[in-house]
């Protein structure tokens, strides 16, 4: 049975380590904060200028001066600090954030990521996504395995890239893939299926994936 969105978020949360500084994208990645394992403390960064993001406010306690990068009202924590946009992206670009978990339209087997633009349709902009994938130490993509039955894990992305060779791991509703970015475009084989959602046959993943990938020995 494929993973639910909560299952996917729970699996992504297993990538967190105590003391990590983490940036969560909008959509399914936001759910990850609900599944932080016990005994682990992470600080969530919001690229509009905040470290130590707290939960949504109680009704009536919303503060228009306190929002996250998705423009949602949030709260602060005892660990919170605020800073300006240049410092925020200095933090991101300078490699100080341990982990970024974000959504994607397409991921290629060489680690290329596309998640900001569909040519010919309205373009909303990349926001901070290009900075995050270029600067954060480790990039985990959390997305549905297919879109309208079309594969999203591709040999090469067909949409304009957000970043080239930037993705380290992809978690979909069907399984988990690790990408060895150091392989680059030089040869196939940089992508490896390392986990299957319980009861999902390997054949199904193969059929729904365009990207070439190895299978971790013993899997499936």
């Amino acid at each position: 049975m494929p993973w639910s969105r909560d299952d996917m978020a729970r699996r992504a949360a297993a990538e967190l380590k105590d003391g990590f500084y983490v940036n969560l994208g909008i959509g399914i990645p936001t759910l990850v904060s609900n599944f932080i394992p016990p005994g682990i403390t992470v600080q969530l960064q919001s690229e509009n200028g905040m470290l130590g993001m707290g939960p949504f406010p109680f009704e009536g306690e919303e503060d228009p001066d306190l929002i996250n990068a998705g423009k949602q009202t949030i709260t602060e924590l005892p660990t919170t600090s605020y800073f300006d946009s240049a410092q925020s992206f200095g933090m991101i670009r300078g490699g100080h954030i341990d982990l970024s978990i974000l959504g994607a339209m397409q991921v290629a087997e060489n680690g290329d990521l596309a998640n900001w633009m569909i040519p010919g349709r309205m373009v909303k902009g990349m926001g901070g996504a290009m900075d995050l994938v270029a600067g954060v130490k480790r990039v985990v993509v959390l997305m549905e395995h297919t879109a309208k039955d079309e594969p999203k894990l591709l040999h090469r992305c067909t949409l304009p890239l957000t970043g080239a060779g930037v993705v380290d791991m992809v978690i979909t509703d069907l399984g988990v893939f690790a990408i060895d970015k150091s392989m680059g475009d030089k040869e196939a084989g940089g992508m490896e299926l390392i986990e299957l959602a319980p009861g999902v046959p390997l054949a199904e993943i193969r059929q729904k994936t365009e990207a070439e990938f190895r299978v971790r020995p013993g899997l499936g």
């Binding site: 228009p64 946009s85 992206f89």
Partner: protein, 235 residues
């Protein structure tokens, strides 16, 4: 001390506006935007503006009010997804748009204010953003060169300010405001609270007064919320 306080936003902008100019406006979404100054820009009728701002407001709020009046010719932004009129004008070719990654935008503004004409960044390498720009390898990694940005006028919103122009921002309403304050040939700040010099602890000043030429004080602001997300009590 030279007087930096002006009676209202229109007075604070008097003599600073001309068609075709470049204006920076602070804020992220509708958070920390210079709303009184934007309204005064609208009233002034100045047009053909190039506006540097992370977002373009929403329909009828923030920079959206300058889209209504077609005063903006070009936006330099990282994300404009919340604005339907924007999409409409852009698709009809009535509005130019230059997308910058958010961090590149912030750094370009910071560089402009700090006398740095250009810098290199990893962000955008291998994407549309780097097309036509100089690429260069440092220590085995490829970077793209981006240019500093200086505007004719920077508009910022601060929480507190004193007569010298020292400013303090509040929570995530800080965002682009401090860097833009450094990158305007002239910077005008709207503030929520006016205090005397010395009332703000000098270690806690976010923007030193040197960056602010004019100040306008309004005690109340609209401060719209874009996404009102809450949780239940006792959950």
């Amino acid at each position: 001390m030279a007087n930096k306080i002006y009676p209202d936003a229109a007075a604070a902008l008097a003599g600073l506006l001309h068609d075709g100019m470049m204006i920076m406006a602070g804020g992220f979404g509708l958070c920390g935007i210079p709303e009184k100054l934007i309204a005064a820009i609208r009233e002034s009728g100045v047009k053909d503006l190039t506006v540097v701002s992370n977002n373009a407001g929403i329909d009828g709020a923030g920079l959206g009010v300058l889209l209504d009046t077609r005063q903006i010719r070009k936006m330099i932004s990282s994300y404009v997804g919340e604005n339907k009129l924007f999409a409409d004008l852009y698709l009809k070719g009535e509005l130019e748009l230059e997308f910058n990654p958010q961090g590149t935008l912030a750094e370009r503004i910071r560089a402009g204010g700090a006398g740095i004409p250009a810098f290199f960044t990893k962000t955008g390498v291998g994407t549309l953003v780097a097309e036509g720009k100089e690429l260069r390898e440092f220590d085995g990694e490829t970077y793209v060169m981006e240019r500093g940005l200086v505007a004719d006028l920077a508009l910022v919103h601060a929480w507190k300010g004193d007569r010298e122009g020292n400013l303090v921002y509040r929570k995530t309403a800080r965002n682009f405001n401090p860097v833009m304050a450094t990158a305007g040939k002239v910077t005008v700040a709207e503030i929520e609270g006016l205090v005397e010099p010395g009332e703000i602890e000098p270690d806690q000043i976010h923007t030193p007064g040197i960056f602010v030429q004019r100040i306008v004080h309004y005690p109340s602001y609209e401060k719209r919320i874009e996404q009102r997300t809450v949780r239940k009590r006792g959950a």
